[in-house]
Symmetry: C2
Subunit: 191 residues, 2 copies
């Protein structure tokens, strides 16, 4: 944990959601990852290029955020929205990341859709937990995590994590995850 | 922040909720505060004693919890359920607390009911934010907080906070909050 930062005294505030639809109503920030941002992540790179070309590089997933200071003791929250689809027969997924402060966890409360939270440790342990409305997945400290959409509508979660956690995408870009998820003959396959 | 504790490597897990009803389906722990636990908190002590006697010391509020280790970097979550009613004309409320690790915040996502989050700092600043379904209140680090039910059904929130935060009830028991909330002639009054 980084403890060399001061924790600001800020004013309480509120934010409106639509918990049925899985929407943050007035996000301060929207981060969009497009299909072209996913180059190198899927088995079938040609299929990804075809998707980018055919659909004008569509949004792949989005994160809606707020303005909580990134300091120890503060708590960040966001809505994560991963679109449905496949690249070849591999399910749409997020890049996945460790937290930059590795020993910080995250709560994912799924509001909508169907999918998996794929997790791994640097030592090679892995775990996959189903995500669906009403189900919360606890991503413990030390575990990298990636959302995977196995359904036909956006996979949407309300996520909460220590504000100093940060993101480390680089290690996953080189390591990958031990398992991928495909839809074959209408069935989910983890391999 | 306490950083002298090790952050355990635990296995990911999931937990089921009913987000429409505001229920944690399989809580590991249920903490019940009864009316008699609230002695000294309301203006009208006699009305509280009458309530305790007439209704066999009914549950006042409940917290449903899980088993996340109380270590830096872990993230605790719970369901907070505050019953509706008044003591005299003062709305039912929780005791309220600072976090023992003062500089830790908390996210309250309201799932059901109507009420207020009453907050204060040790220096005497106060703030009240409405709570209702779909509204999230951010309780920043350094702010004591108390839920107040101004409606006719249970006030239920999904709460997430740094696992090392802990609870400090003693300071609020002696200080109180600068404002109380009443229902008079059908209207909410903060004074």
């Amino acid at each position: 944990m980084q403890t060399n930062k001061i924790t600001s005294l800020i004013q309480p505030f509120a934010q409106q959601f639509d918990l049925s639809e899985g929407v943050m109503c007035d996000p301060r920030e929207r981060i969009v990852r497009r299909a072209s941002d996913m180059r190198g992540y899927y088995v079938d790179g040609d299929a990804l290029e075809a998707l980018i070309a055919a659909r004008q590089d569509p949004p792949h997933y989005e994160t809606f955020e707020c303005a909580v200071p990134e300091e120890p003791g503060q708590v960040k929250y966001c809505i994560s929205k991963l679109y449905p689809g496949t690249v070849g027969d591999e399910c749409f997924m997020t890049k996945g990341h460790y937290h930059a402060v590795l020993a910080t966890g995250e709560v994912y409360l799924c509001l909508r859709g169907q999918g998996l939270m794929m997790m791994k440790t640097a030592a090679g342990r892995w775990a996959a937990e189903p995500l669906s409305r009403n189900r919360m997945v606890y991503v413990p400290p030390h575990w990298a995590h990636r959302s995977i959409n196995t359904g036909n509508e956006p996979l949407i979660s309300f996520c909460v994590y220590p504000a100093e956690a940060g993101h480390n995408y680089g290690d996953i870009a080189t390591e990958g995850f031990p398992r991928r998820v495909f839809i074959r003959q209408g069935k989910e396959v983890i391999e």
